[in-house]
């Protein structure tokens, strides 16, 4: 177990493309850190630099207190689980898991003990004699994890390890990996492009875009206080709604004026915007789908200019809730998550109340969050 420190790390390729730009982060001992972002954001390159599979162009990398920039990957005391894992087809499950330990000259007793323990954790004790061809997809994934676990490395590196599994198995394995982390108490650095995986698994999340860290925070912080419009849009499903408009003063109150929408901002939010000089300026207004309500109780409790009239285009029934899509506001498609009991249908018009205490405002030029 160890902390990992990336000290102003850069990755530049020969064609002057900067894949990772000034990555500076301390990953705590025993932390489950998730790197998330769209394709090409540099998350896998960062992980591969930690593994030693890519050379660091500039900056320092420490595992524990040891500078490892020039240490060969196999000597870094890490274990990596890849997206496209394969088992050794001519060896049974036991031999697959024992292989790395035999290479490192562990005693038979030690190998047995580690494999038994890992197999018990992964619930594959009954499969140890089987060849890979006799295993299901989920069982194979467990064996691949087992091969990494028995090494008892200082750090686990996982590069989209679940993306080759079907949706149901992916959810199941997500929980398994979390349980595993709780039992092993090892530092895990996990790369994914799936924001749900990031939110559900990470102690902290690093959101990346174009090689740059956008935000490092807990899932709660990232979701509720995104630092910019990109993070706000990337994290959360369905994504946050954004509307362009202006802030204007009327009768001592601050209002957001957009196309077919007029909202009076709460006093605490208005004060921040006034203090930051946004009055009479363009802004981007953001509201998450679950912060819009169609029920009468909410509308009655929030009567003051905090609602909009939606003409429903599409209703997605998720069972316990409905996603309703409409695009009659601000020339953009918006989505609200409402109670399934509301019984809404396409082509209906409804009034949606917005919980403005949870709204977000972004600078229209820099896309940086005001709050």
């Amino acid at each position: 177990m160890a902390k990992v420190t990336l000290n102003h790390v850069y990755k530049r390729f020969a064609n002057n493309v900067v894949a990772v730009d000034d990555f500076h982060l301390d990953i705590h001992d025993q932390e489950f850190l998730v790197l998330v972002g769209p394709s090409g954001c540099g998350k896998s390159t960062t992980l591969r630099m930690i593994a030693g599979l890519e050379e660091i162009s500039e900056g320092d990398l420490y595992i524990g207190d040891r500078l490892v920039n020039d240490v060969a990957p196999k000597d870094r005391d890490i274990a990596m689980v890849f997206q496209s894992y394969a088992l050794y087809p001519h060896m049974n499950v036991y031999e697959n898991m024992a292989f790395g330990l035999k290479l490192r000259k562990f005693s038979k007793a030690e190998i047995n003990q580690r494999i038994e323990e890992a197999a018990r954790i992964l619930d594959i004790s009954h499969l140890l004699d089987r060849k890979p061809k006799a295993l299901s997809g989920g069982q194979r994934q467990r064996v691949a994890l087992g091969r990494a676990i028995v090494r008892e490395p200082q750090v686990f590196l996982m590069d989209e390890p679940l993306s080759n599994l079907d949706a149901k198995l992916r959810v199941q394995m997500r929980t398994e990996i979390l349980k595993l982390h709780q039992r092993l108490n090892t530092t895990v650095i996990y790369v994914t492009h799936d924001q749900t995986e990031a939110m559900t698994m990470g102690d902290r999340i690093v959101v990346m875009k174009d090689g740059l860290i956008q935000q490092v925070a807990t899932p709660h912080e990232i979701y509720n206080h995104p630092v910019n419009q990109f993070v706000a849009s990337f994290i959360g499903s369905p994504s946050m709604n954004f509307l362009n408009g202006r802030l204007v003063e009327k009768d001592g109150q601050l209002h957001f004026e957009g196309e077919h929408i007029h909202l009076r901002l709460p006093d605490d939010k208005a004060k921040v915007l006034r203090d930051r000089g946004y009055v009479n300026k363009s802004i981007i207004f953001g509201i998450r789908p679950e912060d819009m309500y169609s029920d009468h109780q909410f509308l009655e409790a929030n009567p003051f200019e905090s609602s909009l009239d939606a003409h429903i285009d599409v209703v997605e029934n998720m069972g316990s809730e409905l996603y309703i899509y409409f695009n009659n506001i601000g020339r953009t498609q918006m989505v609200a998550r409402v109670d399934a009991r509301e019984g809404l249908k396409p082509r209906m018009s409804i009034r949606l109340g917005l919980d403005l205490s949870k709204c977000h405002v972004f600078d229209s030029e820099t896309q940086v969050a005001v709050f």
Partner: protein, 334 residues
């Protein structure tokens, strides 16, 4: 003492038929055939840059023990052994395998030929391939003595693994070969922790066939680097279209691109459309299999295919249209 002096001294002292041979690398086969007609045989050969140096004898005059001594006396001048030299030479001109190698290496069983290509382009290129030998021996337990690692270039080597010791379990040889290639790639990634491309050929019968397999795999490697750079594991019988396209001259290639643009005038496909088509083609146009591979409902895939038909005028479920779309994918992205 150089080989020429040694040969002269041996000829003087033994009075046995022995000759020194020196020629350019591409002349060696012709010379060898001519000398063979007169009863001469190359007993030792080595290469120095573009020159081949060798020793020839008339074998019927030489006692086997004397021949063994000759082989000890004429050690290769460079570090490149004749077998390696032969394979490297094959990339330039067709040549026959060194007779000594073929003679000594008569296999009792067939072998799988793996092509290991290091993809690390930076400072770790100085690795000695021999460092990998212990790891490979552990990975193929039981194949110890007959496991053969043939380093060809700093980033390239061949690995010959006897098939006999593997538990083939009545499985198709192609399946076994490909599964082992995936396993080998995984092992190198996890234990050696380096990015390799691992290619495999069908089992080969005799050492002389290594050259053919090597050339097939080399062609495949060039094709993958150019058309499918993300593919790290493949077999010699796969990617036939890519292999063919990689052999085209730049002029022909550009003519094909122009020709395709004329008959397929639609705008570039999206990433999702390309992924959909590639998966469908990899699954032999089997929609259900492709849907499973893409984790989609079959109807969703059908909808996507309908949209592709709408955009291109070609239905990927129909073989002639699929051929055009595959050519489009192959040539347009380059």
């Amino acid at each position: 003492m150089d080989w020429r002096n040694k040969v002269e001294k041996i000829a003087q002292s033994t009075n046995l038929p022995i000759r020194y041979l020196e020629c350019s690398n591409h002349e060696v086969d012709q010379l060898h055939m001519e000398q063979e007609k007169d009863g001469w045989e190359i007993c030792n050969v080595t290469r120095m840059d573009d020159r081949t140096i060798g020793v020839m004898i008339q074998p019927e005059h030489w006692h086997p023990s004397a021949r063994s001594l000759l082989e000890l006396l004429f050690t290769p001048i460079s570090n490149v052994d004749p077998f390696t030299g032969w394979l490297v030479q094959l990339l330039e001109v067709p040549t026959t395998p060194p007779p000594r190698y073929v003679r000594e290496q008569a296999w009792r069983d067939r072998r799988l030929c793996f092509f290991l290509q290091r993809c690390q382009t930076e400072s770790r290129m100085d690795m000695e391939w021999s460092a990998l030998q212990p790891l490979l021996k552990d990975f193929f337990p039981g194949a110890d003595a007959s496991l053969q690692l043939v380093p060809l270039q700093p980033e390239l080597c061949l690995l010959l693994v006897p098939l006999s010791y593997l538990d083939t379990d009545n499985k198709l040889e192609r399946e076994i070969a490909l599964e082992l290639a995936f396993g080998l790639h995984e092992m190198l990634s996890c234990e050696w922790m380096e990015k390799f491309r691992v290619l495999v050929s069908l089992p080969i019968e005799q050492p002389a066939s290594v050259g053919v397999s090597f050339l097939q795999l080399h062609t495949l490697s060039l094709a993958l680097q150019r058309f499918c750079p993300k593919i790290m594991v493949a077999a010699s019988w796969q990617y036939p279209l890519e292999r063919w396209a990689s052999t085209l001259s730049p002029e022909t290639f550009s003519q094909v691109v122009d020709g395709l643009s004329a008959v397929l005038p639609f705008s570039p496909l999206t990433h999702e459309q390309r992924e959909t088509l590639e998966t469908l083609f990899a699954r032999q146009l089997n929609v259900s299999e492709a849907a499973r591979q893409l984790f989609l409902h079959r109807n969703t895939l059908l909808y996507r295919l309908d949209k592709i038909t709408e955009a291109t005028g070609l239905d990927p479920r129909h073989f002639p249209d699929a051929v055009l779309l595959q050519l489009h994918l192959l040539f347009r992205r380059n």
